[in-house]
């Protein structure tokens, strides 16, 4: 008989090993899925995981895409992970991302055609504040009226999308754009743009900010009293109150930080890879970052790796659609499998699976 026994302490080995096993298992099961669809499984897996980085023909295009896609995912996921660790569920990073982009772009475009070195830093600050303020809505409603931050933050995503549409069609529309929706293309305006810093890598200021956020979050969680209080609140809210944690302040801090980082991600995206405020600017980074945060076990280093891995499957998935004619639904199933398997394998971190002999008298 197989029995599941709770470990007295989480296994250190499995905490590190499960993501690796989960990826391998996903490759095997995904390969079976692709084989069942009549595709060569080895080719499909190679196209997803290997070709984007090392294929002579495509890597020149797809390799920079890795950091372009991973940057905002990591930046947003770091912010979300602080709240998730404390049991504060901000599901609305997508809205904060959009509002950050709108706030930052508004500042830059309002000053147009003024050209000065301080405009871009000012836009960065405005982007962070935009996301922060948008996140303050669920934070204040939660601390004042005890509303559910999951619902409020999620609903505000749809509000933000409407504001985005209104900006693209109205107050931020390019006056020289012949009536087409969308703002001026900021990536074409040198003092408003967020350029690729090292050619061929895809690294822009958002990637730098993401790496900075990883380091800052690591220090915060491991060395700082506030990080300890965040972890303690997530582990045991009652013990946290006993330890003197001010829980309302913590809600404001976690939601505010997540909002500010999502706002930054939005600003770097709108001034760089996206270039302009457009109706379809929201590409789902705010939602995918939730997956990245959990895939990375809410650990800053884990999130860094998970962001890169997920970005890779996106790029590889697109490549596989294009090269092998795999339907996009199959790619999504494959990505979903990865998350499910990882979460399922969490079991072995906290539990031991043993075979027990028990006579059935």
């Amino acid at each position: 008989m197989i029995a599941i026994v709770k470990r007295p302490e989480p296994s250190k080995f499995w905490t590190i090993a499960t993501p690796v096993f989960a990826v391998l298992l996903t490759m095997i099961l995904g390969g079976l899925l692709f084989a069942a669809m009549g595709k060569d499984p080895v080719a499909a897996i190679r196209t997803i995981f290997w070709d984007p980085l090392f294929n002579d023909q495509f890597a020149a295009y797809s390799r920079p895409q890795l950091l372009v896609k991973a940057g905002p995912l990591i930046l947003i996921a770091i912010g979300l992970s602080l709240g998730f660790k404390a049991g504060i569920w901000n599901i609305g990073a997508e809205g904060q991302y959009i509002m950050g982009a709108i706030a930052g772009a508004s500042v830059g475009l309002a000053l147009y055609p003024l050209d000065a070195w301080w405009i871009f830093p000012l836009m960065v600050i405005a982007g962070a504040i935009g996301g922060f303020l948008w996140a303050m809505i669920p934070a204040l409603l939660k601390t004042r009226f005890n509303t559910n931050e999951i619902l409020v933050s999620l609903m505000l995503v749809y509000v933000a999308e409407q504001i985005l549409a209104s900006a693209a069609l109205g107050f931020l529309r390019n006056p020289e754009g012949n009536g087409f929706p969308g703002s001026r293309n900021m990536s074409q305006i040198p003092w408003l743009s967020n350029p690729e810093l090292i050619p061929g890598t895809g690294a822009h200021w958002g990637v730098v900010a993401a790496l900075g956020a990883v380091v800052a979050a690591y220090v915060l969680l491991n060395k700082h009293l506030l990080g300890f209080q965040i972890r303690l609140t997530g582990e045991s809210p009652r013990a946290a109150r006993f330890a003197g944690v001010k829980d309302k302040l913590l809600v404001v801090f976690c939601l505010g930080t997540a909002g500010a980082l999502a706002g930054l991600a939005g600003l770097f995206e709108v001034t760089g890879p996206a270039g302009q405020i457009s109706i379809d600017f929201g590409a789902g980074y705010g939602f995918t970052a939730i997956i990245v945060a959990f895939l990375g076990r809410l650990n800053p280093i884990g999130i860094l790796l998970a962001g890169l891995l997920l970005a890779l499957t996106f790029i590889g998935g697109e490549l596989a659609q294009f090269m092998l004619g795999l339907p996009s639904a199959a790619i999504q199933v494959f990505q979903g499998m990865l998350l499910m398997i990882l979460l399922a394998m969490d079991l072995v971190v906290n539990y031991r699976i043993t075979i027990v002999n028990r006579e059935t008298t």
Partner: protein
Amino acid sequence: MTELLKVVGLTREYPGVRANDDVSFSIGTGEVHALLGENGAGKSTLVKMIYGLEKPDAGFMKLRGSSYAPQNPQAARAAGVAMVFQHFSLFEALTVAENVALGMENPPKMSELAQSIREVSENYGLPLDPDRIVGDLSAGERQRVEIIRCLLQDPKLLIMDEPTSVLTPQEVEILFKTLRKLQSEGTSILYISHKLEEIRALCDGATILRLGKVVGICDPKATTAREMAEMMVGQTLHVPTREGGEAGEVLLDVQGLNFVPSNPFGTRLKDVSLRLRAGEVLGIGGVAGNGQDELLSVLSGEAKTGKGSVIFDGQDVSHMGPNARRRIGLLAAPEERLGHAAAPNMSLTENTALTATIRKKLTKSNFLNWKKTEEFAREIIEKFDVRTPGPGSAARSLSGGNLQKFVIGREVLQDPKVLVVNQPTWGVDAAAAAAIRQALLDLAAQGAGLIVISQDLDELMEISDHFAALNEGTLTAPRPAKGLSVEEIGLMMGGAHDMEMAG
């Protein structure tokens, strides 16, 4: 006395632990037999096997001479074995009769059932109205529901797991009368308890377990409590001695404190007043759920109360949070070890940081000094004899007693002016309990004021100078503990609540 149940060589192993090792004993018809042992001695495993919840790895049982190996509790009940658990399994929103019906395989009509509940309750002196909602009943009354549920099956053997832990002395008396009546009718009772005086008053025989083995069989009426305790722990008990010093200045002054907990199931504190002097130990008794948690929370700072209601060392602290109170020397250790006093999945070092950062100066501009924190954790582990591989172990990996020593040690070693503890030795084995009490008394001898909230009256009598009791959120006026009789204590605890017992 003919033999009812005979247990021979029962052995049950869990991964890494031999919970029961070759346990043998027997119970005669109409005998009240005690099963004694520290926490983790294997009492629960043993009764679970008798009640069909676990199966032995080796050994066998005989009931009235024939082989007895229940596959499940239903089989055990069919054979005439019933059990009253320490934790009740009742639905609060249903009536007494409905709860009883839920536990039956073929419940009769509700009106008939109510009638038979009334009969049993009168016959055995257990006052209980079958139409009342269980949510309105006291812990003692809820236990009666469980007992009556068992008695309706007309059991031959009734197993009772720590039945008096939730009762007032008066309720204990009622329960004992019932048990003696059952005994006189030929029902055998297997009685599990730590409370030695109780066992001496009630039981005819006792089997003592230690580390899963039978270490002694005795006649409790002819053995002293001390001898039994020494058999249980396997060593001579270190009895704490109270050095009654002169009481010093007033450290803590609570006057007319009212508090409405945010939790709707909490108990309101009504007009609580107390005064604690340096070097004094104030024991606060009372049945669980009468405001103990709330009293601790208003003293620790987790809950804030009206201006001027809590004065510490001449300073109004009623608006201060836990850390502000720690800074000036008012510390607390709550009852619930896992999830309140300590975070289960965090290491002992991290759990040290939970309360000690301020007084032990473990932070520098809000960055934690983990090295210094770990050193303090090691000091707690060493001075309080916490058995653990090291400060990196998760709190949940420690046994209850060891974690309790850690929690108490963490506060005591911070050199508090006033320490408030709730159930300091709950679920702790006798040797560790004695060590904890001694540490508390040492602290008081050094001039700290102590408030010890506990449900263990023996403990309170042993260490307190003054005694007060909580009853439905009100605190009786503290009285000198010396010379208080059990009856007086019972009245202070509000036993009057259930005094109109049937004879």
